[in-house]
């Protein structure tokens, strides 16, 4: 008798992918909290952002996952790493918070987590469609929604980005030029 290998059905595969990315995201977020070195925190944040992008892939949000990887993990995180490199005096500098603050923060975080889990538990079971039904939506629908129903936020976002670009460039340039012009 030939023992056929059991094909993993869609639900176990979906569950495996979810648990992989969820565990990655939760563990990396925990590393961000625990690490004392700012560079280790940045690396852990990178893993968190990538795991969240994987979660988006399991949620049928492929475009959003690509945007997350390109903009968040590949843009914002690089910006944060630039900031870390530009503002660290010594490679081993670490600022330790006071023990009382840490205890208070963990207490607040624990209370909030308990409250959130209690609230999640109160959602009736069986809400929504099961995970493994794949909805393929054409990217065209997203584009039409962005330029149709969501045109005003889209335009406002572009204006915001322009303002932020100018503001950040001006802020980051520093005041050295003003000092030089005052001395001369």
């Amino acid at each position: 008798m030939v023992l056929l290998a059991q094909q993993p059905d869609a639900s176990t595969l979906a569950a495996a992918m979810f648990y992989l990315f969820a565990a990655g995201a939760a563990a990396s977020a925990l590393m961000v909290v625990i690490s004392r070195n700012i560079v280790r925190m940045a690396v852990a944040l990178m893993f968190t952002l990538t795991s969240v992008a994987g979660l988006y892939f399991t949620l049928n949000a492929e475009f959003l996952a690509a945007v997350q990887l390109v903009v968040y993990a590949g843009g914002t995180l690089i910006l944060i790493v630039f900031g870390v490199m530009l503002t660290s005096k010594s490679p081993f500098s670490r600022f330790a918070p006071r023990a009382g603050e840490v205890a208070a923060a963990i207490a607040i975080g624990g209370l909030l987590l308990v409250g959130l889990l209690y609230g999640i538990n109160s959602i009736p079971r069986g809400t929504g469609r099961p995970l493994e039904t794949g909805d393929a939506y054409p990217l065209q629908q997203l584009g039409q929604a962005l330029l149709g129903d969501y045109l005003i936020p889209f335009e406002l976002a572009s204006v915001l980005l322009l303002v932020v670009m100018i503001g950040a460039a001006y802020l980051a340039k520093g005041r050295r030029r003003e000092h030089e012009s005052r001395e001369t």
Binding site: A15, F18, A22, A25, A26, A29, L30, V32, V33, I38, M41, L45, T48, L49, V52, L55, L59, A61, L64, V71, Y72, T76, L79, I80, G83, V84, T87, F95, A96, P97, E101, V102, A105, I106, I108, G109, G110, L113, L116, I120, N121, I123, R125, G126, T127, G128, P130, Y137, Q141, A145, L146, P153, A157, L160, L161, M165, G167, A168, A172, R175
Partner: protein
């Protein structure tokens, strides 16, 4: 926990979002490095995004053509845009702070203290 054996549903994603949110909050509260606080903000925004996309996937109805409605995902796209913009401005501010005080420790920012 019953969640571990149930098929993957909305609750699982909400739990992930809750864990990310609480980690971001504790990061914001305990880090003295200003960029560490910014990382906490990014974690909180990611948690909100996970919630938005999960609700969109599980509870959003269908359009007339039968495809999934995308309001949650579009909301999440705008949150990502705003998070990137806010990170840029925050880093510009931190650079100025570092130029003025020679440190990135937020405990040193006490000039406005009463």
């Amino acid at each position: 926990m019953l969640l571990a054996t149930a098929p993957i549903a909305l609750h699982h994603y909400l739990v992930v979002g809750a864990i990310l949110f609480v980690c971001g909050l504790v990061t914001m509260l305990t880090k003295r490095n200003a960029i560490g606080i910014l990382m906490g903000v990014e974690l909180v925004l990611n948690a909100a995004n996970v919630n938005l996309v999960a609700f969109n996937r599980f509870t959003q109805g269908a359009t007339a053509a039968g495809a999934l409605r995308l309001d949650g995902q579009i909301f999440a796209i705008f949150v990502i845009v705003l998070a990137a913009a806010e990170a840029a401005v925050a880093l510009a501010i931190f650079l100025n702070f570092y130029n003025n005080f020679s440190t990135i420790d937020v405990e040193r920012a006490q000039n406005l203290k009463g």
